[in-house]
Amino acid sequence: MKTGSESPIIVLGARLLSPFIMLFGLYVIFHGHYSPGGGFQGGALLAASVLLMRVASGTQISSLMVKESLTTPLGVVGVLIYFGTGLLAFLMGGDFLDYGALPIPGLSPEYLRYTGILIIEIGVGLAVMMVMILLYDKMATGEEEVE
């Protein structure tokens, strides 16, 4: 655990700011239809908060936060949430991604659409976040193999 070479200003500053950036990303996802943003932008911000910890403290320590082996499966889960919601609406007799046809009981069509968009955006956000972290990890480790 070689952390002595890191400057405390960078590491502790990153740890102070990173939770707020992550919460801001979640805010962008959850408020996608009142303000600009949505799944993709929120996912980019979520990934940014994880990458801030990776950049500041090294991959070894920050893999405590998101394990490298988890990025691909969680990204796949994100895509499956998106695709599954669309396919479910298709199977229930609507079009693909027709939120009105989702089989959630006790909701008016307006709220059904709202819920559908929210589920889709969570899926997109998860996929974008995990793929971005995956790209960073691949780039970081590929560099070590060359040397």
Binding site: I10, A14, S35, P36, L45
Partner: protein, 92 residues
Amino acid sequence: MHDFFLYSAVVLMIIIAIPLLRVLKGPSVFDRLLGANAIATKTIVLITLIGFLFERVDMFIDITLAYAALGFISSLALAKYITVKRVEVDQP
């Protein structure tokens, strides 16, 4: 007040263009990065001013915060990348 925001945004754009000279000229990589960083921090204010111009402050503040966070992280990441790679810096 609308006119004032408009003119200050225009002046700010001219001010933002000045460090671009350093980005183009800069003898070392770090000078270029510093110029880019100076542009990024000033752009934060520019976006907020545009928000006041369009009277959609709430929307533009979200954009500003996202821009500020991403700019900060990218400047840290570039600094880290250059340290690790030990890029040859040519002395001025």
